[in-house]
């Protein structure tokens, strides 16, 4: 485990927390820049390039989600073994993911001046966390089990299984209560209870991730490296939930003029993300031809699908935040789960 990259993870998490408040934008940018410099020693390793691109994007945008993405990228850099394959397409995808994250952050911020908008954002983060916890490890958390790695080389961690199982229950309860509040606004009592459940859920996930990293590094580093993507995604999703929860503690956002500026910024960031995805598609095609002889591969299909999601997100029609979130989800999966490509 790289300690410098580990420190960078913490720095990016702090930057994400600061970026949630518009008044602390400069502090967030400084924290992100300081964290990004900690990753610079890994610039020679091709496997660290996406993490570096995410870090650069976090410094440039200083928004909550790009900072969280950078934390997840730094987690991969800290835990993954150095890769010898030097491909450039993931670098463009990581940059695109940063801008897509910025677009979702701006889009959400432009709508959270209403209490309902903030609750919807929190519920969305909760749904994403619950879906990931239920789907990861083939539903193993439903049996209170969690393991690093796969097969004979895996490292079962009962403590992490217990923490994540409890987090799943708390997140599920909190998200359902928030959903009930959104569907029937008269049920106001559900909301405080939901937040009382979601805070522990995010805390438990963070604790479980920390426990898994410590135990994995001590007992079986190769199993920890194999599960680096899972740890990174746990941090990302728990971080997103914490950011939306923290937002409730801040004063309401400014009026409609700022909301309009944020929406314009979200549109611009979506378009930049889409442009970068299509550049990544071209690069992936060229790299496929020069190595495998053909541009057709699961990588190029994934990138093309992200490009199409970008086109869908660009269209000036209803549900822009949902479409931008879909683009972000596809890009985050492409960057943080490269084995699925």
């Amino acid at each position: 485990v790289s300690s410098l990259a580990g420190t960078a993870v913490l720095g990016f998490l702090v930057a994400a927390g600061l970026a949630g408040s518009p008044r602390h934008g400069l502090a967030a940018r400084i924290a992100a820049a300081a964290s990004a410099t900690l990753l610079l020693p890994r610039v020679d390793a091709a496997g660290a390039w996406p993490g570096l691109a995410l870090a650069a994007g976090a410094v440039a945008l200083a928004s909550p989600l790009p900072c969280l993405l950078a934390a997840a990228g730094a987690t991969l850099t800290a835990l993954s073994p150095e890769s010898s394959t030097a491909t450039t397409a993931p670098l463009f995808l990581a940059l695109a993911a940063t801008f897509a994250g910025g677009a979702v952050s701006s889009s959400v911020r432009s709508r959270v001046e209403s209490d309902r908008g903030l609750s919807a954002a929190t519920a969305g983060a909760g749904v994403a966390l619950v879906a990931f916890l239920m789907g990861s490890q083939g539903g193993g958390l439903l049996r209170w089990t969690f393991a690093l790695g796969e097969g004979a080389e895996s490292l079962p961690l009962r403590g992490a299984g217990l923490l994540l199982g409890l987090a799943l229950l708390a997140a599920l309860g909190g998200t359902l209560l928030l959903g009930a509040r959104l569907l029937t606004p008269a049920v106001s009592a559900a909301e405080p209870l939901a937040f009382q459940l979601l805070w522990p859920a995010a805390t438990l996930v963070t604790l479980a991730a920390g426990h898994a990293v410590v135990q994995g590094a001590r007992q079986r580093p190769e199993a920890l490296a194999a599960s680096a993507s899972t740890i990174a995604l746990l941090l990302l999703l728990a971080g997103a939930l914490v950011i939306t929860l923290l937002r409730r503690l801040l004063p309401p956002a400014a009026g409609s003029s700022e909301a309009s500026a944020l929406e314009t910024r979200a549109r611009r960031e979506t378009a930049v993300a889409t442009a970068l995805v299509w550049v990544a598609a071209a690069v992936a095609g060229v790299e496929g031809m020069t190595t495998r002889g053909s541009y057709l591969s699961t990588t190029t299909l994934s990138v093309a699908a992200c490009g199409l999601l970008g086109l869908a997100a660009l269209a000036p029609t209803r549900f822009p935040t949902a479409r931008r979130t879909l683009l972000l989800a596809a890009l985050a999966a492409a960057v943080l789960l490269p084995q699925t490509l």
């Binding site: 495998r292 541009y295 992200c306 999601l309 660009l314 596809a330």
Partner: protein, 295 residues
């Protein structure tokens, strides 16, 4: 047609196409007629982009989409893919074509002669091509005569290149090297290979067969001549000394096997690849222009 110009139509068709195309959804496995659905949705996306193209950004996006679709259609119709299988020292002027559904379509001419000189220690191969000798590895494809040769894979053919048989008896052991076309000698005995099973198993009628071409459980049926008589001897590497010929007073064991290896090289011909690249860059330029226009 004007309905296609609505942004919602573009968003919906692009979302659907992304869902069908993305490998994570495995649409090809569960969606009947997936290729037709993909083609129809791609046409709809292009139509939506063309109908609503007004500004420069939209025009570039539409042009990019048209180029991408045209290139994919051209490669689907005129492109070729397949494999070449060769053993070291062999040459060929054909490849075995594989259709888009994975069906083997038979031999097709390459338009040039290709020879496999030798297998390299790094898993690559040295090929003799019209422009000279080239090393083909997993990391770099070779472009020749409109084709791209890539991804060399070593694979056993299911035959043996060499067997080492140990003959024991009277307190001595003698090794004999047996090749498919060259019998081996162990003292006065002549040992020839009758049948080789790389992954030996018995079927439900207790008949021997091989489960795969990989040498996981090698066995062989040998013809042994000695003392003016001929004997059939079965040897299994996992069970040395399994067969003893009482008349000869010898037992036989299979000590080692060198499987016959061939090289499989992937062959691709995608004549519209450059058009596709141009289309992707046009899409990128269109989106970048949209970013500029939105600010």
């Amino acid at each position: 047609v004007s309905a296609f110009g609505h942004p919602a139509a573009l968003a919906a068709t692009a979302l659907l196409l992304a869902a069908v195309v993305h490998p994570a959804t495995h649409a090809a496995a569960w969606l009947p007629g997936a290729p037709i659905a993909i083609a129809a949705l791609a046409l709809l996306v292009v139509l939506c982009l063309l109908v609503r193209a007004r500004g420069r950004a939209d025009l570039l996006l539409a042009a990019g989409a048209v180029l991408l679709l045209a290139a994919l259609a051209w490669d689907g119709a005129r492109g070729r893919q397949g494999v070449i299988r060769l053993a070291p020292g062999q040459g060929t002027a054909n490849f075995t074509e594989q259709g888009p559904t994975g069906r083997w379509l038979g031999l097709r001419p390459l338009g040039f002669t290709l020879g496999l000189e030798r297998i390299l220690p790094n898993g690559g191969v040295r090929l003799s091509l019209p422009q000279g000798t080239h090393d083909l590895t997993d990391e770099r494809a070779i472009a020749v005569g409109g084709f791209r040769l890539a991804s060399p894979r070593l694979r056993p053919t299911g035959e043996a290149d060499r067997l080492v048989v140990v003959v024991s008896g009277d307190g001595t052991s003698v090794e004999a090297e047996v090749r498919p076309d060259v019998p081996g000698r162990a003292g006065e005995l002549v040992i020839a290979l009758d049948h080789y099973f790389p992954d030996f198993a018995l079927d439900e009628r207790q008949q021997p067969y091989t489960r795969s071409a990989d040498p996981r459980n090698p066995a062989a049926l040998l013809n042994v001549e000695g003392g003016g008589k001929s004997y059939r001897v079965f040897v299994l590497q996992a069970m040395p000394g399994l067969h003893r010929v009482q008349e000869l007073g010898r037992s036989f064991a299979l000590r080692a096997v060198d499987p016959e290896i061939e090289v499989e090289v992937a062959v691709h011909n995608e004549p519209a690849a450059r058009l596709l690249l141009l289309g992707a860059f046009a899409m990128a330029a269109g989106a970048a222009l949209a970013a500029r226009e939105s600010s």
